[in-house]
Every structure is written in structure tokens, then in C-alpha cells.
């Protein structure tokens, strides 16, 4: 098959100038065929998307002739249909969201109206990208178009890297300023008077990669946009918003939640597409009794080796930073054995220093790397050139995220191969075993909660600094007067007449990070060789799990051992080590219900299941960690961790069963406990799918809901009841036995995940039960109820059956 780009008619996307001629006419189809022939049993599903022709529309009649000429110079003499639709909506002054796949020419959707407005009336535009790297790519692209048509439009990036002496020129002379939400939040809005000219003429605000603004980050960004619009109103401007997104289920809803206005959605792409092969891959079962499959990691490295050996540029996505490092090490052991040769394999993830990431991006574009292993950090549109093969080590957790990552291969309309390798996680197994579900499913909803109390308060604070609030003004859904009253007591605002003025000697935006609810990142400092070098950053919430004393912390597959953790100073001191193991933290979580906001219809009286959502208090202790040897993955020891308990008020959804019901349904409390733990495992994974959150945004716990005990899976694979201090309890010896399973929002204050989950609780329980029942294992496995170590005979009952029993009882909550 020939490269489709070669015969493709040119439309609103730069022509493919890639002249790479591979000796093999279609090495990608060949690799796909070989994989299918050799590993037939492992491939559970296959999707071939044939090349698709484009749909076109003529250039709009009102388009500035200079712009037409610029497009013509780049070989564009007509638009894709979605570009024309966006033009029409924007010409009518409507806020617009465009949702089309990668490489569909969506940037032209906003560049056209923005350039037109800049040429015709001094109108300015602000572009926001989630990361600095994307912003720099974008400026390069505008400049190219600018040069092609000699448009004389000035586009600049403005971010933390912009030198001080260049900033004034950007503020006063830039027609298009390309920045990121963090910079808008900390660098632009608090200094808006310096940007007065810019704001007075601001006509368009472009928000690309909109789908990344969900959860905590999205809730913060929605508030930054509230502040932006407030400042614009001060200067008499009311800009039109153009948003672009990868595929999600509710683009219009998300866009409208972000900007607080109605939006028009353009969702049908008119761009042509190269052929795509997608394989769903399930590792073979190696222990049928325990339902244990070969690791996804082993399959991923195997596929990557085949692909790289065939000269195909390959990208691997892993779920965790740790797995990125493990995969990188294994592939470097194969391809980078000779230290004198330039590396062919590189890792890319958050936590690396920006310079290192830029260097890797550059090498990818130049084609000097053959394989990159990344977390979701590369899921965004960072320009890394054309890749051929994409292997997902584990299901990314969302359907939208899966397509987004797979889109990394074949960006320039070349054929591409994607392989989704399932891990033993329940969702993964569910998906590879039900390929039709995945291939036909609609992507998830992206949700934000801009009125989350802490987040909203942070931004009321920042907004009060920017402009005094006036009586009767609104900001967000909570009572602004109460918020200002709180801040007045804190002494940071002062009411005088009809206005609240900022009265603190501080710069509030610096204390607010958009990427978390928590404050204060930790830096990882290498103290080897006498010097102190910062090698990475770790956010506050994940610090207790990753940089405890004794932890092995990996950077580019090199292990560092944490020697000292300075909790107050937010620093971890590490030293290079030669350890042949990695470490994994153990986590005890105890929960107390504070208040139920809403309960299911069923009452306690009739002994049916009860469910509710509300506010909870949880205490998490990380008592120790396991050392796990590379390759064999055997547990080779434990270490103690001495860290303060993490406390959190958040919101949760929970189910409880009456003691009488349990006594009737189970022969022992131990069996019920195992059933609850298995049910929690399945519920957690189905709920993550339901809420389009990162899996770590949601936590699960089993306990009494009164902070007396919690349940955990012990080393023998059986459920244990413990107090927070670690004391083990005997379930049969306890008084009233009323366990509950919790799914909680894993941020202080919650980010609004539990209320929608409560709404769809029936679907979650149903999905969890279907997941467990449909699993092929005999008595439970990591794909349904979690790993089972002790065999069926020892227990005398099946943990899987116990979980199904619990789930079927939970279905009776009257939802």
C-alpha cells in the first residue's frame, strides 16, 4: 500500500513533505500480519480503519486576500469541512469548540479567524496551551504561515522562559500571545495593568487541548478564565473563545463549564486519514489456577523489540512513572548496550527537568531516537514528528485517553499500528475480552468542579488582588460575600464602602498551583559527588508514596535511593545506587463518615443495602514498603516508613450492608470481608471508567465507616481487619460487624467526583458484578477481584463468589 499522503488532495493542512522512503512498501502492515500469525491466541480483537478521503469546502469569501495568498503558498486552496464550520460560527461571534482527531488541521480553525482579525483591525489574541512546549510549537507554526504570506502579524510566546527584557515587547507589540494557564494565572493577570493595551484589544482567546482541563486542573483553569473575563470587562473587552479538544463525550458541556457561556460544537472532521491497525492483546495465562497471566510488561517489551528491530519508530505508553523507568531499563538493556553509541531508547515523563524533556522532543523530531517510553506526558500534541508504532502497556483508564495516545502513531497520514496490551487490572481485562465494547464505546465525560470550595477560594483571593470586588459582583457558584467575609477575617481584604480591597503584603497567585489542590512540591536533590543537584520534582500528594526514606526513586532508569526526607523543607536527598530492586509503598487507609448528603431510598429497617454519598474524614498511614527484585519480581524484603499520617476531608460514595444480611448470606465474617475487598476492587475500576478520572483521582477503602477498623489484603491474600496502628483484629470476635465499601475523591475537599458517581451507582454495581462474573478465572484473579494467593481449598470458599455475593446484595439498595 502506498503512503496515502502522496496522493492526497491538498487542503487545509500542510502537505506531507515527509520524503522518507522505506525500502519495504508497507512495513507496518507486515508487522501487524506477523504479530497476528505468530501470536494468534493473544490477539482478542482487531480494528482496521481504512484510509478515509477528506470532505472539503471552499475558502470563505470574506477571507483577507493576504491570508488567501499565505494559504496558497503553503499549498492550501480549500478548507476541510470542519474548518469552514468553525469559521462560520466564529464569524457570527459565537464561542466555539472544535473536536477532531490529531493531525486534522484543527489549528487552522483558530489561526484563520485570529489572523484575519489581526490583519483587519489590530485585534489581539491570546492562545493558551497546557504546556510550554506546545506553545512553542504553535508559534513556529503561525510564523511559518506569516512568512508564507508576509502578513506582518507578530506572535510571541510568553512563559517562564521569556527573558525579562523581551517581556515588554510581547505585552505591547504582540498580536498573538501564546502562553499557558499557569502563566496567565501567575504572570499576566496579577500584572494586568501592564497588559492594558493587550486586554483592551483582545478579540479571541484560544484554548487548545481543552480535554486536559478536567478534574482539579480543569477546575482551576475554569477559575482562571473567570478572572480573565473579569479583567477583560475592566478594559471593556469581551473576547470570543475558541476551544479545541481531542475526542470526549461532552465537549460542549466541558467548554461551557470552562468559560461559563454557551458554545457551538463542531464535531465532524473533514480531514482525510491514513489506514490504522489496532490490535487488542491479552498476555497468555501462565497459572490457570490463580488466573495469573504473563505480565503486560513482558509483552510490551517483546512487541517493542520486534518493532524497533524492523526500523520502525516506536512509542510506548505506561501508566506510572515507575513502569516507564522499568520498561526503559529493559529496552536499554537490549538496544543501548554500547555506551559509546548515542542512545536509541529514552524515557519521557513528568518530573524530569524541562531541559531534558526538550532535548528528548528534539531528538524525536530529528528521528535520532528509535523508541520513547512515556507516561501521559506525551499524550498531548507536543510535536515529536511521525511515529509508526504505538504500544500501550495497559489500558490508559479512559477510552478518550486511549485514542489520544494511539493517535501518536501515524500523525502525518501514514499507516500506523497500535497495540493495546492488557494488564491484569480488571478494566484492562474487561476491555480485551469485550473488544466490541471498547471499539464501539463512546468516550467518557470530562468533568470539572469550578466551585470546589478550596479552589474557588484560592481564585477569589487572586481575583481580589487583581481588582477590588464590588458589591453585587458575582464570582462562581458560592456566595461571594461569605468568601470575602472569610478573607476579611484573614486580614487579606478590607471592605470600604462598596468595595473590597486587597490589603495583604503578598502575591496570592504564587501560593496557588493550578495542578493540585495541595501546596508545596517536593524537590529531589542528588547529593552524590559532593554537589547538590535537583534531579526531579514530586507533588505533595504523591510524595508519601514515592520518596520515603529508603525508597528507590528512578530517573531515566537510573536508580537513586532516598537517604533523607525533609518533610518540612519539602526536599528529598538522594544518592545514585546500584540496587537491583525497586520499592513499593504499603498503604493503610481509615475512614470516618462525617455527614451523608444523600441516601438511597432503602432504609436500615428492611435490611437491604444502603448507599449514600457525603463527607468523610480519612487518615492514611504508609507504614512501610516492599523491595521487589527486577525481572523476577519477587519480594525480597520490607522496610519501615516513618512519616506523619496524611489526613484528608473529602467526599465519598459508600455502600453498607446490615449485619443480619451478612450473617444470612455468608458462613463466616472472614468470607464477607474477602467479598467486600473483592467487590471494592471491581467497583473502584468500573467507577474510574465511569468518571473519566485518572485512576488515582479516586481511592477505595473497606472499613466500618467509623474509623475503628479498616480492611486490607494481607500477605497471605486474605482480608484482614486492622486498627490504624497496625493491630490485627479477629472479625469473629468483634461486636457489630457492619463493613462498608467506600470510593472517595482523592483530593482534600473533593473535586466533585462522588456526586455523579452516586447518581450512576446502579450502573457501577451492575458493571462490577458483570466484570467479576464474566471473568474466566475460577476463584478470583487480578482481573476481577484482585490477586488471590491462597488457593480455594485452603479458604474453603471462593473469594470471587463472595465478591459476587456482596455485589448482588449491593444491587438491592433501591437505586
Amino acid at each position: 500500500m502506498a503512503t496515502p499522503a502522496a496522493q492526497m488532495p491538498r487542503a487545509g493542512c500542510p502537505p506531507d513533505l515527509d520524503s522518507e522512503s522505506l525500502s519495504d512498501p508497507d512495513p507496518i502492515a507486515r508487522l501487524a500480519d506477523q504479530l497476528k500469525a505468530k501470536y494468534r491466541g493473544r490477539i482478542t480483537g482487531e480494528l482496521i480503519t481504512p484510509a478515509r478521503p477528506g470532505r472539503y469546502a471552499p475558502l470563505p469569501p470574506g477571507l483577507d486576500p493576504r491570508l488567501c495568498a499565505a494559504l496558497a503558498a503553503r499549498g492550501v486552496d480549500r478548507l476541510f469541512s470542519h474548518q469552514a464550520q468553525a469559521w462560520e460560527a466564529l464569524s457570527a461571534g459565537r464561542h466555539t469548540v472544535v473536536v477532531t482527531p490529531t493531525a486534522s488541521g484543527k489549528t487552522l480553525c483558530y489561526n484563520l479567524p485570529v489572523l484575519q482579525a489581526a490583519l483587519n483591525g489590530q485585534a489581539k489574541a491570546l492562545y493558551l496551551f497546557p504546556t510550554k512546549a506546545l506553545a512553542q510549537d504553535q508559534v513556529a507554526e503561525i510564523l511559518e504561515l506569516n512568512r508564507a504570506g508576509e502578513l506582518g502579524v507578530r506572535a510571541y510566546t510568553f512563559d517562564g522562559d521569556t527573558p525579562g527584557d523581551a517581556r515588554k515587547a510581547v505585552r505591547t507589540r504582540g498580536d498573538i500571545v501564546v502562553s499557558n494557564p499557569d502563566m496567565l494565572h501567575q504572570g499576566i493577570l496579577p500584572h494586568h495593568t501592564k497588559w492594558a493595551q493587550f486586554f483592551e484589544n483582545l478579540r479571541y482567546v484560544v484554548i487548545d487541548e481543552m480535554h486536559t482541563y478536567r478534574g482539579v486542573f480543569g477546575s482551576h483553569v475554569a477559575n482562571v478564565l473567570r478572572r480573565l473575563r473579569r479583567v477583560c470587562r475592566f478594559y471593556g473587552a469581551d473576547p470570543v473563545f475558541i476551544l479545541c479538544s481531542a475526542t470526549i463525550a461532552n465537549p460542549a458541556e466541558l467548554a461551557s463549564a470552562l468559560i461559563g457561556e454557551e458554545v457551538v460544537a463542531v464535531t465532524e472532521s473533514g480531514a482525510p486519514q491514513g489506514a490504522k491497525y489496532l490490535l487488542l492483546w491479552n498476555p497468555p495465562v501462565i497459572n490457570p489456577d490463580l488466573g495469573i497471566r504473563a505480565s503486560a510488561r513482558s509483552q510490551t517489551t517483546r512487541i517493542a523489540r520486534m518493532s524497533v528491530k524492523r526500523g520502525l519508530k516506536t512509542i510506548l505508553f505506561a501508566q506510572t512513572r515507575l513502569m516507564v523507568e522499568v520498561l526503559t531499563k529493559y529496552l536499554k538493556d537490549v538496544f543501548d548496550k554500547d555506551p559509546r553509541k548515542p542512545a536509541r531508547v529514552a524515557a519521557y515523563r513528568g518530573g524530569y527537568l524541562p531541559t531534558e524533556r526538550r532535548a528528548t522532543e528534539q531528538k524525536l523530531r530529528a528521528g535520532s531516537l528509535d523508541c520513547v517510553i512515556s507516561t501521559s506526558a506525551l499524550e498531548l500534541g507536543v510535536d515529536i514528528g511521525a511515529l509508526d508504532v504505538c504500544v500501550l502497556n495497559g489500558y490508559p483508564g479512559t477510552i478518550a485517553g486511549t485514542w489520544q495516545r494511539l493517535g501518536r502513531a501515524g500523525r502525518r497520514q501514514r499507516p500506523a499500528l497500535g497495540v493495546l496490551v492488557a494488564s491484569s487490572q480488571p478494566l484492562d481485562q474487561y476491555i480485551v475480552r469485550n473488544p466490541d465494547f471498547f471499539l464501539g464505546a463512546s468516550p467518557e465525560h470530562a468533568r470539572i468542579d469550578p466551585d470546589q470550595l478550596l479552589i474557588l477560594l484560592d481564585h477569589v483571593r487572586c481575583a481580589a488582588f487583581e481588582l477590588p470586588f464590588r458589591e453585587g459582583e458575582r464570582f462562581g457558584g458560592e456566595s461571594l460575600n461569605d468568601m470575602l467575609g472569610y478573607l476579611e477575617e484573614e486580614g487579606v481584604v478590607h471592605r470600604e464602602g462598596e468595595r473590597w480591597h486587597w490589603t495583604a503584603d503578598s502575591y496570592p497567585a504564587n501560593a496557588v498551583s493550578l495542578r493540585s489542590v495541595a501546596e508545596g512540591n517536593f524537590v529531589v536533590v542528588d547529593i552524590g559527588e559532593g554537589a547538590q543537584t535537583v534531579v526531579a520534582e514530586v507533588d505533595y500528594t504523591s510524595a508519601p508514596m514515592t520518596i520515603y526514606e529508603g525508597a528507590i526513586y528512578m530517573v531515566q532508569a537510573s536508580p537513586y535511593q532516598v537517604e533523607e526526607l525533609d518533610w518540612e523543607g519539602r526536599k528529598a536527598f538522594v544518592r545514585r545506587t546500584r540496587a537491583d530492586y525497586y520499592t513499593d509503598a504499603i498503604d493503610y487507609t481509615r475512614l470516618k463518615i462525617l455527614e451523608a448528603f444523600e441516601r438511597s431510598a432503602s432504609g436500615e429497617a428492611d435490611n437491604r443495602a444502603q448507599s449514600a454519598h457525603g463527607e468523610v474524614h480519612l487518615v492514611r498511614r504508609i507504614p512501610g514498603y516492599k523491595k521487589i527484585r527486577y525481572y523476577t519480581h519477587e519480594n525480597i524484603g520490607y522496610g519501615n516508613i516513618n512519616l506523619p499520617d496524611q489526613e484528608m476531608h473529602t467526599t465519598a460514595l459508600w455502600w453498607q450492608l446490615a449485619p443480619e444480611t451478612l450473617a444470612a448470606a455468608f458462613s463466616s465474617r472472614q468470607e464477607a470481608l474477602d467479598g467486600f475487598l473483592g467487590a471494592a476492587y471491581a467497583l473502584h475500576h468500573v467507577a474510574a471508567l465511569e468518571s473519566m478520572s485518572e485512576p488515582q483521582d479516586l481511592g477505595r477503602a473497606v472499613g466500618d465507616g467509623d474509623a475503628q477498623w479498616f480492611a486490607t489484603v494481607g500477605a497471605n491474600g486474605r482480608g484482614q481487619m486492622r486498627r490504624l496502628d497496625g493491630t490485627e483484629l479477629d472479625p469473629e470476635a468483634e461486636g457489630r460487624f457492619r463493613p462498608a465499601v467506600f470510593l472517595y475523591d482523592n483530593y482534600p475537599g473533593g473535586v466533585g467526583l462522588s456526586a455523579p458517581l452516586f447518581e450512576s451507582r446502579a450502573a457501577i454495581v451492575h458493571g462490577a458484578r458483570a466484570l467479576v462474573e464474566a471473568c474466566e478465572c475460577r476463584c478470583g484473579c487480578p482481573a476481577c477481584v484482585g490477586p488471590i494467593l491462597a488457593s480455594d481449598e485452603v479458604r474453603g470458599y471462593s473469594p470471587k463468589a463472595a465478591a459476587v455475593q456482596v455485589l448482588s446484595l449491593l444491587q438491592g439498595d433501591g437505586a
Binding site: L454, F465, E489, R495, E496, W502, T503, D505, E519
Partner: protein, 420 residues
């Protein structure tokens, strides 16, 4: 849980390291008020009046507040919310060791002031609610000073309420007039951008930004940054003016002093803030002629001669730079000597330049050896002597020159062979 409690708890769990300092306000009435406002349905049994210091009272209250503060500061009410303090400082008097009379002398020895010596100087210094900048920082005291009728007239505009801001900025702008040049200490990066932001927020034209501005921090740094531990104004006062403040309120405490007044009506420290600001302005006035003297004769003031000479050169006065460096040759470090050699070369004083390069070369300065090589090759036309300076093999320039000189010598000797 009440909003406040909920918020504090959540913030602590989110890793906030210091508890926000609530309760700077009078506790009882504030909390009662908050409870009332948090639960508007509950009838207000607590007193509903929240007597803020200068909050939303009746117009009469505001007038009384202004009058009280004016009296406290020994000033007059200029407009609602603005107090004006005016003092005349006789030029016959002294400020530390300096006579203010020298202000009348032309400061043209200061490179920045050259060509503007006929201008009228206006000294400016502000007190603000914070040092971080950004639109949440307010100027609550704007001090200006200029010479009028044989005296330094110091005018300080003080806000007694945020509402007075526009009037204060406009009044100060009027007093500035058209042609004046601002003189400040760090005003280019702090005071003036802040005043510009305040004007923008108050919706009035900005009389401060598009105006000539002499920021004395820059000449001070150039002359003393390498000599003193810091260039704070207090250091300058001690070292150049021999002026020592007694019982001065540190500038860093000014924000809290004003906020105490605005939030709680406590005006106790405001007179001290005004005195601090007054001294800043008088020191500025004394510093301008002092810095001019430093630039005329840096040696006498223990200043960094090389730094001062560089400033003269950058302003186009190479001769003065050369004379200064030459006169203080024994105090120069190697960089200063190299600069002097360069100026000597440009002035055609080759023997002085060569002596300097020889001295530097003897201490291993490759650059000076290259200068000597160039001199011998191109001025003296003696490639053999030039070659002797190109022995340093670690330097590419030296290697190249050596190769070239060797070729040159070879060609010449070839020619000689041919003629012989």
C-alpha cells in the same frame, strides 16, 4: 462545619505550611458578623454594626477620620481620603555631613545627569502595602520633593482610605508639572511601574511613566556594589552622607503600619512612616550631588574606579575614563588594567598600552599576549617578535596566529633565498 473552619482544615490537609493569620481584626464583633452573614436566615441577635476603622461609615465619619489623621500627621485634608503633609527644608541646613546647598551645583559629573543639568529635579519615594508588585499593591504614601525658593519643599500625600487614591495621584501629577525629571532610588523598577498601575486602575492619565527619570540606585551600584556589602539606601546614607537615623521605623514595617490604620483605626505608627519617607526624600536630594562628586573623583570616595570609568566611557567620554584609570593604576585589578590598555591603544598611546600588556602577560594573560603579537606584527612589522607571543598552545587564536606567522616568515625567508 462552618465555612471558616472547613476552609482552614482543608487547607492544612492540602499541605499549607503556615496557618493563615486570621483574627487580626477585633474578634467578637467580627465573628458575630460572620455568623450572621453566613446564615442570613438566622435573625441577627448579635450586633449587626461592624465598626470597621474607616469602613462603610456615614460621610460624616469619613470627614472626621480624615481630620483626625491630618492632625496626627501635622498635615491638612486635601480631598476626601487624602492628607497632604508639606515641609520646607532650608538649603542652608545640613543632612548628615552634607550641605543641601550643593543641590544648586550642576551634577553634570554624573554621566546620567549630563545634559540635563538645567532640568528641575523632583525626588520621589513611595510607601506601599507590599513589595511584591502587581495590581494588588497600593501606594498609600507618595512623597515628592523639589527645590523652591531656597528650600527643599517636601510634599507627602497620604491615603486615609482607598477611595482617595485617584485624587492623590491627580494632585501629585499636578505638582509634578511638565518638564521635571524624576530622581528616585530604585524607582525605575519599583515606584514608577507601581504608580503607573495605580493610575491605570484609578482610571486617570499616568503623569509618572513617560518622563525622564534618574534612578540613583544605578550609579550607586556601579560605584560601590563591588566595595560595599549592599547598596541599600541606609548604607548609602551612612557611608556617603554620614547621616544616621535615630528611631527610624524600618521601611519593611510600613505596610503593616498603614493596614493597622485602615483595618483597625490604629494610626500610632503612621507619623513614623511619614518621617521615614521624609528622610528618604531628603537623603535622595543630598545623594544626587554626592554621587556627582563620586563620579568626578572616585578615588577620593573609595569608589570602584573601573566601574565609574566605564560609565564615563559608555557615555562617550573616553578621555575622562582614561585619565581616571591612569590616575588610579595601582588600584586596578586585571580587568581594569585591560580596560586601561584598551583605552591607551585607542588613544594611540602604544608604549603605555604595551607596558600594561607586558605586565598582564607576565601573569599569564593570553589575551594580552595576543594584543602584543598584533602590535608587533602590524604596528612594528616584526613577525619574529610577534611569534614569540604565540607560544600558548591551549588557545586556538594563538595557534592560528602562530601558524600564519610561521608561513609569513617562511615566505619571507623564501624570498630572501631567491634574492640571495
Amino acid at each position: 462545619m462552618a465555612l471558616k473552619q472547613r476552609l482552614s482544615t482543608l487547607r492544612r490537609q492540602a499541605g499549607a505550611q503556615r496557618d493563615t493569620e486570621a483574627g487580626t481584626c477585633a474578634p467578637g464583633t467580627q465573628i458575630a458578623e460572620r455568623v450572621r452573614r453566613l446564615r442570613p436566615a438566622v435573625p441577627a441577635s448579635a450586633p449587626a454594626t461592624r465598626q470597621g476603622a474607616c469602613g462603610s461609615g456615614a460621610p460624616g465619619d469619613a470627614a472626621r477620620r480624615d481630620a483626625r489623621l491630618a492632625e496626627r500627621l501635622d498635615g491638612e485634608v486635601l480631598a476626601p481620603g487624602v492628607i497632604l503633609i508639606e515641609h520646607r527644608v532650608a538649603l542652608e541646613g545640613r543632612h548628615g555631613a552634607r550641605a543641601l546647598r550643593t543641590l544648586d551645583d550642576s551634577p553634570s559629573d554624573l554621566p546620567e545627569a549630563a545634559g540635563r543639568s538645567e532640568s528641575e529635579w523632583i525626588f520621589v519615594d513611595t510607601e506601599t502595602t507590599g513589595l511584591s508588585g502587581g495590581s494588588g499593591t497600593t501606594v498609600f504614601m507618595l512623597g515628592l520633593a523639589r527645590v523652591q525658593d531656597n528650600a527643599l519643599v517636601v510634599r507627602q500625600y497620604v491615603l486615609s482610605a482607598f477611595a482617595g487614591e485617584a485624587a492623590m495621584l491627580a494632585a501629585a501629577g499636578d505638582w509634578l508639572g511638565g518638564r521635571a525629571v524624576l530622581v528616585s532610588y530604585n524607582g525605575k523598577s519599583f515606584d514608577v511601574p507601581l504608580l503607573a498601575a495605580r493610575c491605570r486602575l484609578a482610571g486617570i492619565a499616568d503623569p509618572f511613566s513617560r518622563r525622564d527619570h534618574l534612578d540613583l540606585l544605578h550609579p550607586t551600584r556601579r560605584a560601590f556594589a563591588r566595595i560595599w556589602d549592599d547598596c541599600r539606601l541606609s548604607t548609602v546614607e551612612r557611608r556617603l552622607l554620614d547621616f544616621r537615623r535615630l528611631n527610624d521605623l524600618p521601611g519593611s514595617e510600613a505596610p503593616a503600619a498603614w493596614l493597622a490604620f485602615v483595618q483597625r483605626g490604629n494610626d500610632r505608627l503612621l507619623p513614623e512612616v511619614a518621617r521615614h519617607n521624609h528622610w528618604d526624600l531628603v537623603s535622595l536630594a543630598a545623594l544626587l550631588p554626592a554621587l556627582a562628586e563620586v563620579h568626578a573623583d572616585p578615588g577620593a570616595w573609595g569608589a570602584d574606579v573601573a566601574g565609574v570609568a566605564r560609565a564615563h566611557r559608555q557615555r562617550g567620554d573616553e578621555e575622562r575614563a582614561r585619565a581616571l584609570l591612569g590616575a588610579h593604576r595601582d588600584r586596578l585589578d586585571d580587568a581594569g588594567l585591560r580596560e586601561l590598555a584598551r583605552l591607551q591603544r585607542r588613544a594611540g598611546a602604544w608604549s603605555e598600552a604595551c607596558a600594561l600588556w607586558e605586565e598582564l602577560a607576565s601573569r599569564g594573560c593570553v589575551e594580552s599576549r595576543m594584543h602584543l603579537a598584533k602590535y608587533h606584527e602590524h604596528v612594528r612589522r616584526d613577525p619574529r617578535a610577534a611569534l614569540a607571543y604565540c607560544t600558548d598552545t591551549s588557545c586556538d587564536a594563538a595557534l592560528q596566529r602562530r601558524r600564519r606567522l610561521q608561513d609569513k616568515l617562511q615566505r619571507r625567508s623564501g624570498q630572501r633565498d631567491w634574492f640571495d
